[in-house]
């Protein structure tokens, strides 16, 4: 829902690094977005085209790497994917309780390519 201001921040971050490296143009932005980050990747792409116009990021390619969320089992320590309406560990027949982890909540600029 809040992708517009977030896209502005992405462009700000890319601009900052591009200027530090005296670049003329940013040709690519590599993002990492976890599936549980709450961020809609499609909306970022949509806003990016509009907001990047007339900036150093204009026409840059956005590459998005997605990360699947994992829970960590309190009993056996395994990381596993959550099933709907359940927090139970899916490793073999453990069935222990899983707790949330930061895996799947990533939202950062990994790197940029400049010219």
């Amino acid at each position: 829902m809040h992708e517009y201001p977030l896209t502005q921040k992405i462009i700000k971050i890319a601009e900052k690094y591009a200027l530090e490296h005296k670049a003329d143009h940013v040709s690519k932005i590599n993002l990492v977005i976890g599936n549980d980050s709450g961020v809609l990747a499609d909306s970022i792409l949509l806003y990016f085209e509009i907001i990047a116009e007339n900036t150093i990021c204009e026409n840059a390619e956005i590459v998005i790497e997605r990360v699947k969320p994992l829970l960590k089992c309190k009993k056996c320590g395994q990381y596993f994917e959550r099933k709907p309406f359940s927090f139970s560990c899916t490793f073999k027949d453990c069935g222990g309780d899983g707790e949330p982890t930061e895996i799947g909540r990533e939202f950062y600029v990994k790197s940029i390519e400049i010219e």
Partner: protein
Amino acid sequence: MSSEINVMESIYSENEKIADELKEELENKNVFSINVLGAPGIGKTSTLIQLIPKIPYKSFVIEGDIASDLDTQKLNALGIQTVQINTGGACHLDSPFIRDAAENLNVQDGIMWIENIGNLVCPAEFFIGEHIKMLIVGVTEGSDKPYKYPLAFEKADVILLNKCDLLPYVDFDEDFFMAGVRKLTNAPVIHISSKSGDGIDEAVNWILSVKK
């Protein structure tokens, strides 16, 4: 010729930096800040109206809404010092908003309550310099909310289960609700009704026990 530059910078980093500075500023002014989260109509404003008169410190309120200042008018009419933030569409408050509002309110020695935008999703993602997050949920919303909106529960320091006066009229499966909550957090769950005032004393005591 193109070259790749390593960035590894969180898109939230600017918000977090301002939030950290704000929290420190608030501590210097002896202000304890509570970020109030919950869906639209769950009773955030009603609960503040119940809690604030029972708190033995000065209260300051920041009201976040997409539009209108109805809640602010209501609180100011009760003599509670309140400022309004209209985000004009944004679904959460972020720290530059709060920093400006806190300056506006001239906060000092007391509690700053922030009624976040009514939304169970986005506000949970943004640290806005608060000391604690207070999540308000209700028996009218259904007992599956911890399963559907885990982040808000996970981040909450205290959960107020509101509208308990309506329990006889709704099918609220408390065991299912609590099982979901306990997978996510050990935060206390306090049953309240912001209509009858039941449970408000317990919530006040909890807040006073954690206030620095």
